[in-house]
């Protein structure tokens, strides 16, 4: 009876504290549901199919993405399509195919590309324009698609694959989740206008066909190959594999395609790759991390969990989030302290003070967590600010853990806030859901010197909670320094290596003059100093490593652009890098224009 009254008391205490999420008034820059046009002469779904061909050789993935547009209406249209790519994608080529003619796109300064496109549109020429809206969100425009026309746009990009715990993962994102923004429509600037892209209703399948084929050539024998996100067929030989999407997944373009594989003996491909270019030479250093050693005693810590309970988390994502946070809370030790902040349009905390992780407090937290349903806006910045202002347990280092799908449009502002408060806490970000905004999750972790984690289903949640606890207990390598001895390296990215928590290799890009000398990496592990020497020789130079130039430039742009301060003047430098290395950036776009006039311009 006593136990029962405790439970009832707990429920009564918790339920009235449900956050007072503010209802959004006025018309804000938010997406809307798609309502099919009444005009039967217009094709509302011009994207016929999207398909990808992925070639993975060693640690580098080369992806060819093809979008096919077809106008099945009776009027000439301009099609606009918003789509995602990986956060580390270096997009270096685009071409357009009309009938048998192929037009190579040019990289231009963003404003110039837009002018060229608009002029072609006015002139009645078929044209396509690819613009970056976010480092992982792009917009394709195709003008003057005449009734019956079929136009193919092909985009080439490359990515580096970095294994974690010996598992390689390639992610092909398929759809952009709806982003919450509280900005008024009239105040919106160009980079945010895509947020208004309409969405189909829940349960409606993607109206276009989706297909993907991946080919693996690893050099080292493969151990396992699997795709947790979609049904596929896998043909595996010694160090090669070919993966095809199952026919029933042709409408599977509403969740990230995730391909994972391991090499025999859980090996990872590490070492030095060199590319001798015509004007510049590039290198990539991948260094296997030291083995994890658990310290005998870990000091107590204070955890603050920030849990996204907004509308987009309603249902499955919030259930995954609850399972994850519950797992972490259950693993806390009595000497640890913790608190939880729930947010949507407003926010609410579990306690005004950090609570010791007693069984009673953990239970109270879990009951409160279970009561969350999801609804309202995603005001992540005030939530982060409030979390940072919460009373702190003196003497304990603070760890802030955010769990969200990341469907917000204030990524850079969040990075800034975290960077400015680094002395107050370490930040770890969990991305939850089938198509997480990885730009936000990875950026938050990088700005907060923590690690990014993505959990796509409830089954992974308990494993992720365990892994997280392990990372926090014992960082693998800290105070990392790299020295080049006799190896004339320059323009090294990143200039400072962050502490390494997860079991993933150290990655360093750069340019070099002569392929000789050595690279020395030093750091500290829990039990002692760490030192690794990597010899450099001309024998390692390989013209097949041409992708290194794009990856280096993408890395530098990422640092300047993605993680640069809001309002910082990096435009000139990023533009120069984009034009020089033929790369898509925030300030450079690909534009392709047909030379033939096929359509009389519409006059209003």
């Amino acid at each position: 009876m006593k136990k029962l009254s405790f439970v009832i008391g707990l429920l009564i205490c918790i339920l009235p504290f449900t956050p007072s999420y503010g209802a959004e008034e006025g018309k804000v820059l938010s997406p809307y549901f798609f309502v099919q046009s009444e005009d039967p002469t217009v094709d509302p779904f011009p994207l016929l199919e999207t398909k990808a061909k992925v070639d993975i050789a060693g640690v580098i993935a080369a992806i060819e993405l093809t979008q096919v547009y077809k106008n099945e209406g009776k009027r000439t249209i301009e099609a606009i399509y918003v789509f995602p790519l990986g956060t580390k994608s270096a997009i270096h080529a685009m071409r357009m195919k009309i009938g048998n003619r192929i037009i190579e796109a040019k990289i231009e300064e963003r404003a110039a590309a837009k002018r060229i496109y608009e002029q072609a549109k006015q002139d009645g020429k078929v044209a396509s324009l690819l613009e970056q809206e976010r480092p992982n969100v792009f917009q394709m425009k195709v003008a003057n698609i005449m009734p019956g026309d079929r136009i193919e746009v092909r985009v080439n990009y490359t990515e580096l694959l970095v294994p974690e715990k010996g598992i390689y993962e390639f992610v092909f994102p398929t759809v952009v989740g709806p982003r919450y923004s509280n900005k008024q429509e009239g105040d919106a600037k160009d980079p945010d206008r895509w947020l208004k892209t309409p969405y189909l209703h829940e349960g409606e399948e993607p109206p276009y066909a989706f297909d993907i084929v991946a080919r693996l050539r690893t050099g080292i024998p493969l151990s396992a190959v699997w795709v947790p996100s979609h049904k596929v067929t896998v043909q595996k030989e010694r160090d090669r594999a070919e993966i095809h999407l199952a026919p029933e997944e042709k409408r599977g373009g509403n969740k990230d395609f995730i391909l994972r594989y391991t090499l025999q003996g859980e090996r990872i491909q590490s070492g030095l790759l060199l590319y001798p270019g015509e004007e510049e030479n590039f290198f990539l250093l991948m260094l296997q991390p030291p083995t994890r050693v658990k310290p005998s005693a870990v000091p107590p810590r204070e955890y603050v969990f920030i849990v996204d309970c907004s509308g987009s988390m309603h249902g499955f994502p919030l259930e995954v989030s609850k399972a994850l946070i519950t797992g972490i809370i259950q693993g806390l030790r009595r000497k640890d302290y913790f608190n939880i902040l729930f947010f949507a349009g407003g926010s609410q905390v579990l306690s005004p003070h950090p609570l010791p992780a007693t069984a009673k407090n953990r239970r109270k937290a879990i009951v409160m967590l279970e009561g969350q349903q999801g609804g309202g806006g995603t005001e992540i910045l005030p939530a982060l600010q409030r979390a940072l202002a919460l009373e702190k347990k003196e003497g304990l280092s603070r760890i802030i853990v955010t769990a969200t799908d990341g469907y917000v449009a204030v990524e850079k502002e969040a990075f800034d806030l975290i960077r400015e408060n680094l002395n107050k806490a370490n930040f770890f970000a969990f991305g939850i859901g089938s198509s997480v905004n990885r730009y936000l999750i990875e950026g938050m972790a990088r700005a907060g010197k923590g690690e990014p984690f993505v959990v796509t289903n409830q089954g992974e949640a308990s494993q992720a909670a365990k892994q997280f606890a392990e990372y926090i207990k014992s960082p693998l390598l800290t105070d990392i320094e790299v020295a080049f001895q006799g190896f004339d390296a320059y323009d090294v990215e990143p200039p400072l290596l962050p502490d390494l928590f997860a079991q993933r290799p150290l990655i360093l890009f750069g340019k070099y003059r002569d392929a000789r000398g050595k690279t020395v990496v030093r750091g500290k592990t829990v039990w002692g100093d760490y030192k690794k020497v990597i010899a450099v020789s001309a024998q390692l130079e390989d013209a097949g490593n041409a992708a290194l130039q794009y990856l280096w430039a993408r890395e530098r742009i990422a640092r300047l652009d993605d993680y640069g301060k809001v309002g910082a003047e990096v435009k000139e430098e990023v533009t120069e890098l984009g034009l020089r290395y033929h790369l898509m950036t925030q300030y450079t776009s690909f534009v392709a224009v047909d030379t033939i006039v096929r359509e009389k311009p519409e006059r209003s």
Binding site: Y21, P206, K335
Partner: protein
């Protein structure tokens, strides 16, 4: 005519994400399944689970000679942890920062830089810290921040 290709909602994301419900609903009553689980968990609660874990000494930080790690310091401390815990409990100490002067890996003298608690006896502390041995190459001053939680 411009057509914005509508996007499907990512799998698992509900209409609430794009204004399917314009006003936030207060956390609805828990589903019977969740409620049942919570009730069971809470029913499992008993005072016995709250039995206290005895306080321990933790090495929270400090300043070490070049080349030495916190892991090594922690390892060196571990043989005397029990004795230190007894002393901290006896004196009501919750935190202290000590400076150890070390030569050839052996503690020659100690100094208490600061402490939180009722007080301490330097001789007793010195007796315990002198039992610590570091690697023979360690020399100089080691600052250790210890908490008793």
């Amino acid at each position: 005519m411009t057509v914005k290709q509508p996007l499907p909602l990512p799998e698992g994301v509900s209409d609430y994400a794009v204004g399917g419900e314009t006003r936030f609903q207060l956390a609805a009553p828990m589903s019977s399944l969740v409620k049942g689980r919570v009730m069971k968990e809470a029913a499992d609660y008993s005072a016995s689970e709250e039995k206290s874990v005895p306080p321990q000494i933790y090495l929270m930080g400090g300043k070490l000679p070049s080349g030495m790690t916190m892991g090594e310091a922690e390892q060196a401390l571990s043989p005397v942890k029990g004795e230190l815990e007894q002393l901290f409990q006896q004196w009501g100490l919750t935190k202290t920062i000590v400076l150890l002067t070390v030569e050839q890996g052996k503690v020659r003298s100690i100094q208490v830089k600061s402490y939180q608690g009722k007080g301490y006896k330097k001789e007793a502390l010195e007796q315990v810290f002198r039992k610590i041995t570091f690697s023979p190459s360690v020399k100089g001053t080691i600052e250790l921040e210890l908490v008793y939680l």
